[in-house]
């Protein structure tokens, strides 16, 4: 029974997502271990999808259901995760709670050492877990070593037989974290969930999942860590914060991790701990702002070339951020022409070779990479300078610019990197991002 409890506790699943044989299913439902709930309910003058919380009338479709022989609604908002229909119930586990194995030994297998700043954050996390604090915001700069900060707190939660989830809006972050967590917690069950992982029916004590996967959970986790809470799509799609809130248990602890918290979070003034210094102890590179009178669609401006040729370390790789996919491709030919001995590529969200190109750049097989904001966060390149072309474009908001600047200087072997924002009119975002970085450096004791 505990195996069923582990599989289904805290989950909200459709009949075929349960992956149970008919006899198993009948048995569990008859014994009230699994209870159906209506998947689409009436909500004022519209409806509500109980999985994703959607109440927008135009996001419900009508279907002439052959099973019911009548027209009824289905939810179009979360259809990618399996169709929720009026006639298909969602199942909740109403049996005994799962019991995670007791840990006789220290679950943390990571032997590294935390910097003082990381240690402070880690202590705050431990305190939050011990006192069942509802929320904690960890405002940690890019490159501060956010993952390692979490380890001690997670180890504590494991010994308390708690259920832990770390969620990130991006699948590649989950893919990257899985092996690191498996190494850090060798005796604990861990599962990594993201669209296409094929592991959606698996359950473990530590769940690493993309935010969309949280739609399948209900009062499941004692400790929920939300990474990059300010990133797309979490901040743009209301069903995701809805899912995160619902996925946590009654007295769970929620931890937010970000370098760039948005106003809506800051307004609520959650308990916060700052980690203003990077794990290698060097300050964040401060971006330079350069004005150009005209931004040509196919030629990079003169001030870019001046900056490029005046760089202190000319052998460093270069990341060039553009506002649109089109621009990323349009600037490439002029770069190739002027720098014939350099390997220059462009990458963007719709690029089928995206993952490969990022890998090549990481392995230093590409010298200059033109990219859109797709690489603004979550990626670590050992030694780069960064240029943003048309930094005044609306796609470069404060958070984006801070994150982009955070791509430089991440390695202890090359902790400085030059960052330039090239624009044809300084925006608030440009001004505020530079101020924010300067402030973080000040907090860290650099002046």
């Amino acid at each position: 029974m505990n195996n069923y409890a582990k599989r289904f506790a805290g989950r909200l699943l459709l009949r075929d997502e349960l992956k149970l044989t008919e006899p198993e299913f009948t048995d569990l439902t008859l014994r009230k271990q699994l209870t159906p709930i209506q998947a689409i309910t009436k909500h004022y003058f519209s409806y509500r999808c109980e999985r994703c919380g959607n109440t927008a009338k135009d996001l419900f479709g009508k279907i002439p259901c052959s099973n019911c022989r009548q027209n009824h609604h289905y939810c179009r908002k979360c259809i990618q995760m399996g169709r929720i229909m009026f006639c298909t119930p969602l199942y909740k586990w109403t049996g005994p709670p799962p019991i995670w194995p007791p840990q006789s030994e220290e679950p943390l297998g990571w032997g590294g050492k935390l910097t003082p700043a990381q240690q402070q954050a880690s202590d705050q996390i431990i305190k939050a877990i011990k006192t069942k604090q509802a929320e904690l915001l960890i405002n940690a700069v890019c490159g501060s070593g956010k993952t390692e900060m979490l380890f001690e707190g997670i180890a504590l939660a494991i010994t308390q037989q708690k259920r832990i989830c770390l969620t990130s809006p991006r699948a590649d972050v989950i893919r990257e974290l899985l092996p690191r967590f498996q190494q850090a917690f060798p005796e604990t069950s861990i599962v990594g969930l993201y669209g296409g992982s094929g592991k959606n029916h698996q359950t473990a004590q530590i769940t690493l999942a993309t935010t969309h996967q949280l739609l399948r959970y209900d009062h499941a986790f004692d400790l929920l860590i939300i990474d990059e809470i300010d990133a797309f799509p979490y901040h743009a799609d209301p069903s995701l914060p809805y899912a995160a809130r619902r996925a946590q248990k009654q007295d769970a602890t929620m931890i937010y991790l970000t370098a760039t918290p948005r106003q809506d979070l800051l307004k609520r003034k959650p308990p916060t701990v700052f980690v203003p210094v990077r794990y290698h102890g060097h300050p964040l590179p401060l971006p330079k702002s350069k004005l150009t009178y005209k931004l040509s669609p196919s030629e990079l401006p003169t001030c870019f070339w001046n900056w490029f040729n005046q760089r202190k370390n000319k052998t460093r790789q270069l990341l060039v951020f553009t506002a649109t996919i089109e621009q990323a491709e349009k600037y490439r030919p002029s770069l190739v022409e002027r720098l014939p001995d350099k390997v220059i590529h462009s990458v963007h969200a719709e690029d089928s070779d995206r993952i490969e190109k990022v890998q090549q750049f990481r392995k230093k097989e590409i010298d200059i990479l033109l990219t859109t904001t797709i690489l603004e966060r979550g990626v670590t390149f050992p030694s780069v300078d960064v240029a943003v072309i048309d930094a005044g474009h609306q796609v470069f908001d404060q958070a984006a610019l801070v994150q982009i600047a955070g791509r430089a200087g991440r390695s202890p072997d090359d902790p400085t990197g030059e960052v330039v924002f090239i624009h044809d009119g300084k925006t608030r975002a440009i001004r505020d991002s530079i101020t924010a970085i300067r402030l973080m450096n000040k907090r860290a004791g650099f002046h």
């Binding site: 479709g61 009508k62 279907i63 002439p64 052959s66 289905y74 259809i79 169709r83």
Partner: protein, 157 residues
């Protein structure tokens, strides 16, 4: 044997994704996206059609119909202003989409007639025409039961 087969769209990557969402994810509402093109292309393909023409949608197995909750061919057929006649049903559940070209062309006829009627001109409706094997089988069953004016119309080819 077949009078003619006509399709509305070329089955490219974009259409593949769209039809996949419609059929496999079960997003019924997408059928309305096709209405204009489907009805217009139908008029162009069959300009002198007999008013008594009946539409015969390719049927799904009971299992698939239950899971999907609708028949995509029926959904498409209902976009047209002609009466539907469910003349065919499947004998066994053999998933056509999982067969390769060879297997499709040599497989047994999966259809049989549901009811005996006075033969009228018919147009078989389906979503995708790949090798034509499905439609060929369907037309064969109709033909040997007295139907002579048979054409087919699909969303994609």
């Amino acid at each position: 044997m077949l009078l003619k087969n006509r399709a509305v769209y070329r089955y490219n990557d974009f259409l593949k994704t769209l039809i996949s969402q419609f059929k496999y994810r079960g997003d019924y509402a997408l059928v309305h996206c096709f209405k204009q093109d489907f009805t217009q292309a139908f008029k162009q393909a069959f300009p002198t059609i007999d008013k008594k023409t009946k539409l015969v949608p390719i049927p799904l197995s009971t299992e698939r119909l239950s899971a999907r909750a609708f028949n995509q061919a029926e959904a498409l057929a209902s976009l047209l202003p002609y009466q539907q006649l469910p003349l065919l049903k499947r004998i066994e559940g053999e998933k056509q989409a999982k067969k390769n070209r060879q297997a499709r062309l040599t497989s047994k006829n999966p259809f049989e007639l549901t009811k005996r009627c006075e033969p009228e001109p018919v147009i078989i409706i389906d979503d995708i025409y790949t090798t034509g094997a499905t439609i060929h089988h369907a037309a064969h069953v109709l033909k040997r039961n007295g139907y002579q004016k048979i054409a087919s119309f699909t969303l994609a080819r």
